[in-house]
């Protein structure tokens, strides 16, 4: 399997809005741990270490850019 980086959501705006709305309910010091929990949940759901490795590499590239 290859990491999908083309759009895979029926409505990307809704996904973005859900993230924003979830974080608006949090105290400012909880954003990072909330996102960590989210990443772990989604990583488990994906269930494929190869996909996770590719996603980690793409994320690393984005913060180094």
């Amino acid at each position: 399997m290859t990491l999908r980086t083309e759009n895979n959501l029926p409505d990307p705006d809704t996904a973005y809005r859900l993230l924003v709305a979830a974080h608006r309910r949090l105290a400012p010091d909880l954003h990072a741990s909330f996102d960590a929990a989210l990443v772990l949940l989604l990583a488990n759901h994906i269930g494929d270490p190869e996909i996770l490795r590719q996603a980690l590499a793409a994320a690393a590239a984005s913060v180094e850019a």
Binding site: R4, T5, E6, N7, N8, L9, P12, D13, A15, Y16, R17, L19, V20, H23, R24, P28, H31, A58, A61, S62, V63, A65
Partner: protein, 529 residues
């Protein structure tokens, strides 16, 4: 340029001992009130349109008019001058930092009579509508007539009006308030108008200059000339360019309004100072709507009923959609159709559209002006990912441009057959090129207009007809689907039929259509069940 100043004239109503009665009174001669008044008058209803001013408002207001608005204006006979004057566009470009991220095309397919958008200063649009209003029999437009009081009872709406000659009174069966975001009628009713307020301050400057930029909508996140903020550039007629700059939340509006300061900002953006100002304003905005648009005999439309942020051209366009939704229903009511059901459908359909517009413009605003440090980080990350990954491009939101909402409507009849495409019940008609019976190249929107913009049976080939409504037949001897695009865009075979409402929305569609289900769908769409 048609005139923009209009003389007050004394009306015979002002000399009567008892108040005159008018079936339909519209308050506010902006784009919404004018479009509604012209539509009603074209349908044969006498209309009284009141405006508190004697002139068309100047300044920088709506500039982007959508395909759906142009289709409505085409029915009203005003699209041609708007298109001739307006700047036609369909492409946008998004920049992040010093890079172009991507471009998008709002109407990639051909075969539509109207373009995706035109840009046109609102005063030009209003001037053309006023000119048309003067040509339509039965439309009485009174300038410098300011409504100062409204009450309603079983007999009707009682309206008090102030004029340069003093006050007078009249009564109406229905009053439509198209009197803008600060609606005095809404205040007189004490109706609520609540929603989300945004703290961000934006600067709008319309500048006149010779510029080589294409007729595209350009949007920047964090550009080198305006670090950390967003910017928008868009062309209007007469070599005027709309520039919209996000400012610091804590900026002082009085200081930022100073033309020298604005000139310095724009010189950084444009790389030169060779421009003049047409308009400068600063604004904050709100996304909100009334809880109900119909208050018995008083009905709200346009900004009076709902307000959105400007990113997405959803203000004026949604108001025009309100007008086209309401016009045929008020016409039917004044010909004896059930008022309660049709007005309830106006409210249900247009509240769905308002919520859709508010959701879209709120999402755009949250991306353009992140409210918290976390949201700013999320956006920066999205913009970085979007340089390499398609999914993130789709999340970059510089404004989602106005499209009509497909209604879940009490007037619609749900599909009973399988359909692989085509506009579903509650969605607006999709244009296709056709050859008219006389052989002239034409469009489906023209065919619908030729049929009278009433309930219309649109059928592919031979099939049933319905007593009392016109039939549009797609076939070689009639409206010829030369390019096969009708069959494609409507997913039809011979025998299939769509039932169109007078506003061009789909009421129902049937494969191998027969009379009983069509008749039932028509009854439902008329509000009679």
């Amino acid at each position: 340029m048609p005139p923009t100043r209009f003389a007050y004239r004394r009306a015979p109503d002002q000399d009567r001992a008892t108040p005159s009665h008018h079936p339909i009174v519209i308050v506010g001669a902006g784009p919404v009130g004018l479009s509604l008044a012209i539509d009603l008058a074209q349908r044969g209803q006498p209309v009284l349109l009141l405006d508190d001013a004697e002139r068309i408002g100047e300044g920088s207001r709506a500039i982007c008019f959508s395909k759906r608005t142009l289709e409505a204006w085409d029915r009203l006979g005003v699209a041609a001058p708007m298109l001739a004057k307006g700047v036609t566009w369909q492409r946008g470009r998004i920049f992040s930092g010093a890079h172009e991220l991507f471009d998008f095309n709002l109407l990639p397919e051909g075969g539509h009579k109207m373009p995706a958008f035109i840009n046109l200063q609102q005063f030009y649009a209003e001037a053309h509508l006023v000119a048309r209003a003067g040509d339509v029999p039965g439309l009485d437009l009174r300038w410098a007539n300011r409504v100062t009081a409204v009450t309603q009872d079983d007999a009707g709406v009682h309206v008090t009006i102030q004029t340069p000659d003093g006050p007078y009174a009249l009564t109406a069966t229905h009053l439509v308030a198209c009197d803008g975001a600060r609606s005095p009628i809404r205040a007189m009713l004490g109706a609520d108008f609540v929603g989300e307020t945004f703290e961000d301050l934006f600067l709008i400057a319309d500048v006149k200059m010779q510029a080589p930029f294409p007729t595209e909508r350009w949007f920047w996140f964090d550009p080198p000339f305006h670090p950390g903020r967003s910017a928008l550039l868009h062309k209007q007629p007469d070599n005027v360019w709309r520039i919209d700059l996000q400012l610091d939340r804590t900026a002082d509006p009085d200081l930022e309004r100073d033309p020298d300061r604005v000139r310095a900002r724009l010189t950084r953006m444009l790389g030169h100072g060779d421009f003049s100002f047409e308009w400068i304003s600063l604004y904050r905005f709100q996304c909100r709507r009334m809880a109900r648009f119909v208050h018995d005999r008083i009905i709200f439309a346009g900004d009076a009923a709902h307000q959105v942020s400007p990113f997405g051209a959803r203000g004026a366009n949604s108001g025009i959609e309100d007008a086209e939704n309401l016009a045929w229903k008020l016409d039917a009511i004044h010909r004896g159709a059930p008022a309660a059901a049709l007005l309830a459908s106006y409210e249900a359909e247009r509240i769905q559209a308002a919520d859709d517009n508010i959701a879209n413009s709120t999402a755009a605003t949250d991306f353009i002006a992140p409210a918290t440090d976390y949201e700013h980080m999320l956006r920066t990350t999205t913009l970085r990912l979007a340089r390499h990954h398609g999914f993130a491009k789709r999340m970059v939101n510089g404004g989602r441009l106005s499209k009509p909402t497909a209604y879940a409507s009490p007037l619609s009849t749900a599909d009973a057959d399988p359909w692989a495409g085509g506009p579903p019940p509650g969605a607006p008609l999709v244009d296709v090129p056709l050859r008219a019976p006389g052989g002239t190249p034409s469009f489906l929107t023209d065919a619908f207009r030729a049929a009278g913009c009433t309930f219309t049976l649109l059928r592919h080939g031979d099939g049933p007809t319905l007593d009392g409504i016109p039939t549009l037949t797609i076939g070689e001897a009639e409206w010829h689907d030369v390019d096969g695009l009708f069959a494609q865009r409507y997913d039809t075979s011979p025998g299939d039929a769509y039932l169109l409402r007078p506003d061009g929305y789909i009421a129902c569609r049937l494969r191998a259509a027969t009379i009983p289900p069509l008749r039932a769908a028509l009854t439902r769409a008329c509000g009679e069940t």
